[in-house]
């Protein structure tokens, strides 16, 4: 922040025509404020409407203030199960994806080997593929495991459900973990490891006492990203969930017939927990760097 923080006085050129300068001075901040407002309005609506007492089954228009939703946040058939399943899948898939992705990230940044350039590109493919293509191709594989010629020879993954959702979430998260861990390792000072070795530590000790603690923040960041991607995913999950409902799948199903205020309540809870996480980690890292 400080490196780029050229003071407005130096970056604002003294010359120029009046109109352009006016745009620079007034229009740009106003436009930016409006655009940020555009990004925040739906969040504001979500929170406000979590305090609504809707008329009828759809929470679409404001009636009057009520704490009903917040006092009974899980009071809708299927909702508690879906939240539990979402959390379980996010948790388990994060562990697997972080483990597999970190190992790939270590290999790609710390070793020279044949095919490294190719793999660096390959890792981007799952992220560049539209989610709908990822979801539909996984579904074709799962269906194929139940049909000849594969049926009987491999474990059957159709009808789809909990396990197939888990498989899908690990798959789409690996690349994100690799990229995040790689970014962290790119600025790594190898001399720290050499110093440890010079002081008599072997590779194993060096890794656990020097390397791992240094890359741990990167791994944690990757895990948090994976967790949030998993808990929010709808498009891929919809293809591979069968009759199992994660929270987004449940919302999608229920909103056709009703829009309970609980959707807004759970959405608001997720929002405030995530914001709290970011706030705490920002404060902690600011303290540490001081």
């Amino acid at each position: 922040m400080t490196a780029s923080g050229t003071s407005p006085a130096t970056s604002r050129p003294p010359s120029g025509r009046g109109v352009l300068r006016a745009i620079d001075h007034y229009a740009l901040p106003v436009f930016t404020t409006l655009a940020i407002g555009y990004l925040l309005v739906p969040i504001f609506v979500m929170v406000v409407f979590s305090f609504n007492q809707p008329v009828g089954k759809f929470n679409y228009s404001w009636n009057h203030f009520s704490l009903e939703g917040w006092l009974h946040p899980f009071d809708w058939p299927g909702l508690p199960d879906s939240v539990r399943i979402s959390l379980t899948i996010a948790f388990v898939s994060t562990i697997f994806a972080t483990l597999l992705g970190t190992l790939i990230g270590l290999a790609l940044t710390r070793y020279q080997f044949r095919g490294r350039g190719f793999l660096n590109g390959f890792i981007f493919l799952p992220m560049a593929t539209p989610e709908i293509v990822l979801g539909s191709s996984l579904l074709t594989l799962f269906v194929a495991t139940a049909l000849p010629p594969l049926a009987g020879g491999v474990p059957t993954l159709y009808p789809t459900g909990f396990v197939t959702i888990l498989i899908a979430h690990v798959m789409f998260n690996i690349s994100y973990v690799v990229v995040t861990v790689k970014a962290r390792l790119a600025g790594f000072d190898r001399r720290l490891e050499e110093a440890a070795m010079d002081l008599g530590a072997n590779e194993w000790t060096t890794f656990w006492r020097v390397t791992f603690p240094l890359i741990l923040p990167g791994i944690m960041a990757a895990a948090l990203l994976a967790f949030s991607l998993s808990i929010d995913d709808f498009i891929i999950t919809n293809f591979v969930s069968g009759t199992t409902n994660t929270f987004p799948i449940w919302v999608y199903g229920v909103q056709k017939n009703a829009l309970p205020v609980q959707i807004n309540v759970i959405g608001s809870i997720i929002f405030f927990v995530a914001v709290g996480f970011v706030a705490v980690s920002t404060i902690v890292s600011a303290r540490r760097s001081r």
Binding site: T32, I43, Y60, Y111, S136, I174, V275
Partner: protein, 295 residues
């Protein structure tokens, strides 16, 4: 492990272990991606040139019927994907560039706060955000109801279920994906380059057009891809905010695969979407000439 290598067999084995290490680290993750990313892609292609039903199983007939049927029956939805995905990409660029510019060059000490506000939508679920738009744009929602009460708009006026609502929903959902890479590109620009241009008597328009904009092109490229690719395949906005005639190819793919169990056509459409996006990306890269820029 290391003690064994160094004591028992000397540096020879140790070097061999060293050489194998990257492959050992890579193996589990790569194997996973091969089984659940590469194999499904092949499987999907196989089904797109097969015929049969879910009950009887599919046999590969090498026929391109599914592709012909898909393009013939769902050309309109493909067109909708291109139109709405393209419109949303252009809209996010027009909104996102000034915002990214303001954060990068005028952010000052509020830079991190504004960046945080830009990504704040990611802290809520994509579906819930879209449902919030549905509430906002509703016939009696917070936006239209007051305007109708004041008789500025006729009572029958509605935004929900129009192409406009759909496009604005897609624009909304992908705007942060445009702003962030633009910001990263603009932030990297050395202010001394801009000063140098001014010293050489470039006016503000010229500085922007000949220095800032070319240096921001990698950001434009990355942001457009991050917006256009998911926007093309999106079906949630079309379903929640649009109407049957604005449905996109994503809606058709999910309908074919999940409701009709029509795997050959669903797989073929998915494949056409993927191929179309790759071609679009290649053309776009050629036009912008970002290959040299991004390295």
């Amino acid at each position: 492990m290391t003690s064994l290598a160094s004591t028992a067999s000397g540096p020879g084995l140790r070097r061999r272990i060293g050489r194998a290490t990257p492959y050992v680290l890579l193996a589990p993750g790569l194997l996973y991606l091969v089984v659940f990313y590469v194999v499904p892609s092949i499987q999907m292609f196989t089904y797109s040139i097969s015929s049969g039903t879910l009950e009887t199983g599919f046999t590969m007939t090498l026929s391109l019927d599914a592709y012909a049927t898909g393009l013939d029956r769902f050309g309109k939805q493909f067109l909708n994907s291109i139109v709405y995905g393209g419109a949303a990409t252009i809209a996010t660029l027009l909104i996102g560039f000034p915002v990214a510019y303001a954060i990068a060059f005028r952010g000052g000490r509020y830079k991190n706060l504004v960046l945080f506000l830009v990504i704040a939508p990611f802290f809520t679920s994509f579906l819930i955000r879209t449902i919030s738009w549905k509430i906002l744009l509703g016939d009696q929602g917070p936006l239209l109801a007051p305007l109708k009460d004041l008789h500025i708009l006729p009572t029958g006026f509605s935004l929900l279920g129009t192409g406009f609502a759909q496009a604005s929903g897609i624009t909304y959902n992908f705007l942060p994906f445009m702003i962030l890479p633009l910001y990263v590109a603009l932030e990297k620009i050395d202010p001394r380059l801009l000063e140098a241009a001014q010293d050489l008597y470039a006016d503000r328009t010229q500085v922007f057009r000949r220095v800032t904009l070319p240096l921001a092109l990698p950001g434009v490229f990355a942001g457009s891809l991050l917006t256009f690719i998911p926007a093309m395949g999106d079906y949630v906005n079309a379903e929640l905010l649009g109407n049957p005639s604005t449905r996109m190819i994503g809606n058709v793919i999910q309908n074919r695969l999940l409701i009709q169990n029509d795997y050959p056509v669903g797989a073929a459409l998915s494949f056409i979407l993927m191929a179309g996006i790759l071609v679009a990306v290649a053309i776009y890269a050629r036009v912008l000439g970002t290959e040299q820029l991004t390295g």
